[in-house]
């Protein structure tokens, strides 16, 4: 019997839904075994009946529920709760759902301050009212899905990796559980390491790393050892795709683009503190951790929920 799937998106950019489509052909192969009962991005299924005739929100029962996006307002919170009620297994898809994602950088400011800035303070706005008519109230900050309801499976990434979605669905189809192994992007990274830096200052990404595209990966030196801030040591592995039809080496996604990791898959272990761990990693290869600009925001860029990012009391100047 086909497995029933419900998908919902909350506070999102749509990249995680596109990732589901990016599965491509394997998705068409999986389709006969999957019965999508609810998926607003693709399907015409409304919460209150097709013509709004119902009073209660209605999400059909499903074996697997997928939620992308963090929780920013009351309505999204309610949708997350309904999904939890109706779905046997709940997947948080993407870093917004798992850790708040980029929008959770806003957690560094109180809601009032954000509203002031965007709607009222704006010197050029015609109407100085905060829009309110018919709109769901905002929560005080951006929450990850698991801060609102229990989550069974986490598939982070901004966006996540289509391979992981296939692996998770395949496992769930067989009735098995799914978990991404606790490895770091460095564990998966094929670049050459000498355990020390060439010295000097931490470089800005604009200078671009040294590489030769005609050489195999292990001939390129680790970007961090080249002096760039790479979040590989504190970031969960899983973004990599095997090169050459699944035969070649696995290369993490940004590393493959000759760019350092920015940490979009979030911490390796639940509750880890990448800020502290990264400072240690930087120091251990001989770079000066204090040089990292705007540390708190930079090292928590995708993971600002769970109170990792919150407003700081104003510092006296």
């Amino acid at each position: 019997m086909a497995v029933k799937v419900a998908e919902e998106w909350l506070n999102i950019c749509g990249g995680c839904e596109v990732t589901i489509l990016d599965i491509g052909e394997p998705l068409l192969d999986l389709l006969p075994e999957l019965d999508f009962v609810h998926m607003p991005v693709l399907m015409d299924h409304k919460y209150f009946g097709q013509t709004g005739e119902k009073d209660e929100m209605e999400i059909p029962e499903a074996d697997v529920g997928i939620i992308s996006g963090g929780v920013r307002n009351e309505k999204e919170k309610h949708v997350a709760e309904e999904m939890r009620k109706q779905c046997k297994t709940l997947i948080a898809l993407g870093s917004c759902a798992c850790f708040g994602g980029i929008p959770a950088m806003a957690n560094m400011f109180p809601l009032e301050a954000l509203y002031e800035k965007v709607f009222r303070d704006s010197k050029t706005t015609d109407s100085a009212e905060t829009p309110a008519e018919n709109l769901p109230p905002l929560l005080d900050r951006v929450y990850a899905v698991d801060e609102v309801v229990d989550v069974d499976v986490r598939i982070p990434g901004c966006p996540t990796n289509p391979d992981l979605v296939v692996q998770a669905l395949t496992a769930l189809l067989k009735g098995e559980s799914f978990e991404i192994p606790e490895r770091s992007v460095c564990d998966e990274c094929p670049l050459k390491r000498e355990k020390k830096t060439s010295g000097g200052e931490i470089k800005r990404m604009l200078e671009s790393v040294e590489f030769d595209q005609s050489q195999p990966w292990d001939q390129t030196r680790c970007y961090m050892e080249q002096g760039y801030l790479c979040l590989g040591p504190v970031t969960l592995a899983g973004c990599g795709h095997k090169e050459g039809d699944g035969e070649g080496v696995t290369v993490p996604r940004c590393i493959k683009g000759y760019m350092p990791c920015r940490g979009c898959f979030g911490p390796i272990r639940k509750g880890a503190n990448p800020l502290v761990d990264m400072m240690t990693a930087i120091s251990s290869i001989g770079l000066d951790a204090k040089q990292v600009p705007d540390r708190r925001a930079l090292l928590n860029r995708y993971i600002g929920s769970h109170k990792r990012l919150r407003p700081l009391p104003a510092r006296p100047k």
Binding site: G14, G52, M105, A106, L114, P159, C254, Y258
Partner: protein, 430 residues
């Protein structure tokens, strides 16, 4: 008679939107697009950030327009800091944007619009009867991914396009590969035009429109330009974009709405087709005639046809760019060196859904002090309301059940990326 149609949740548009139409005594009393999604407050997120960090954050306003956001953002930074990039960088960026255009149009046509016109509730349902078509859509989407991966380093939210140029350049081999794949893509895009030419376009939403698009900066159709062209005959420099996107906050929406001289206007593929379509050549030029776009205007439901023509255009143009790059030979150049300075600058690009503006100011250390992003959907919202109003007037005699789906069709024709209209940045005209 007093009836009210509430479509609480607009499915199959990217983002969360709803429509409320209030009808009183057989007349439309009120049409509101309710924007439900929480504003994501992107603007405050980049204030205080160094100039090189702005694009990686703001591209996440929308995954489907990520390439356009990236390029518009980089152009705004460069204009503010007085950086001139190489012709090669400009070509590569254009290729990235064309890739994004192919992706977005393929997705919208195959997953959202075609099921709509053929009367299927979803692409999944369409796949059970028309597997070949859905496969074709997914393959076009994959082609677009390959382009963005080759140029931007990742299929979604690219990492290689940076201030001043590119971190890594595509190899000759990768470009040759891409060129091969584009050949197949061209056939598929032409098949898409055939498919779209068979769809009946209803005329219930016809009403006069003002169209706005960038005027192309070279001979031929283009997604780039320094001037804004209006179908009223006026042109403006992109730096003056605020005169066109005079935005207001409306009570029923978390997204601001744009008006020009107090009137709504439309941006997007159809606007580009109306304003620049005669510059199309090759297969795209032929497709434009085939889909009847050399005459029509005022019916937004033709936007889907315009997207199909642009699918052909973007594929042909991508091949042209690759030929140009290969002909000149890829120069191994590093991004232009940047010296931080205070300044203000604007970048504009024709994103899949219409003109996209990013405008920033920096202090002398190169830290951002103000950001303003105006998305195409924000500009279109007022026009969507206008079209809904005229559609309801044309459909008023029909039962409620049959009006509602037609109104959704109007909204979806705009391909609104509501999630992006709602990030809400500071706009307006002093």
């Amino acid at each position: 008679m007093h009836k009210s149609i509430v479509i609480d949740h607009l499915c199959r548009v990217e983002g969360h939107g709803g429509i409320t139409v209030r009808i009183k005594d057989d007349k439309v009393a009120d049409v509101n697009m309710d924007i439900f999604e929480g504003p994501r407050f992107f603007e405050p997120l980049v204030v205080g950030k160094n100039y090189d960090e702005v694009a990686p954050i703001l591209m996440r306003i929308c995954a489907i327009c990520s390439a356009s956001h990236t390029v518009a953002s980089l152009m705004a930074v460069e204009s503010a800091l007085g950086i001139k990039v190489s012709p090669q960088t400009r070509l590569l960026r254009e290729l990235l944007v064309q890739g994004g255009n192919i992706e977005s149009h393929a997705l919208h046509l195959f997953c959202l619009a075609i099921p709509d016109f053929l009367g299927y509730p979803s692409a999944i349902a369409l796949a059970s009867d028309h597997l070949q078509e859905v496969k074709m859509g997914l393959e076009l989407k994959k082609l677009a991914n390959t382009i963005q991966e080759a140029i931007g380093g990742r299929a979604i939210h690219s990492v290689n396009a940076v201030v001043g140029g590119f971190g890594r350049l595509p190899t000759r081999g990768a470009l040759l590969d891409l060129k091969e794949q584009l050949k197949r893509g061209l056939e598929q895009s032409l098949a898409t035009v055939d498919l779209v030419s068979g769809l009946q376009v209803p005329d219930f939403c016809t009403s006069p429109d003002v169209y706005v698009a960038l005027s192309s900066d070279r001979a031929g159709y283009s997604l780039f330009g320094d001037k804004i062209l209006l179908s009223t005959g006026e042109t403006k420099d992109i730096g003056m974009y605020k005169e066109i996107c005079n935005e207001r906050v409306v009570a029923h929406s978390h997204a601001k709405q744009s008006l020009f001289k107090g009137k709504p206007f439309a941006v997007g593929a159809l606007a580009r087709m109306v304003l620049n379509g005669e510059n199309l050549s090759g297969q795209a030029g032929k497709a434009r005639g085939k889909l009847g776009l050399d005459t029509v205007s005022g019916n937004m439901l033709y936007n889907n046809a315009a997207q199909a023509v642009e699918l052909v255009y973007s594929i042909e143009r991508s091949t042209e760019i690759i030929d140009e790059l290969l002909g000149a030979g890829i120069r191994e150049e590093k991004p232009v060196e940047v010296e931080a300075r205070a300044g203000t600058g604007t970048g504009a690009v024709e994103a899949p859904r219409g003109t996209l503006y990013h405008s920033y100011s920096f202090d002398k250390a190169g830290r951002l002090t103000e950001a303003d992003v105006i998305t195409p959907t924000a500009q279109n919202l007022a026009n969507i309301e206008k079209d809904l109003r005229s559609s309801v007037e044309n459909l008023i005699d029909q039962p409620k059940e049959s009006i509602a789906p037609k109104l959704e069709m109007v909204v979806r024709a705009y391909d609104p990326c509501i999630s992006c209209a709602v990030h809400l940045l500071e706009v307006n005209f002093e």
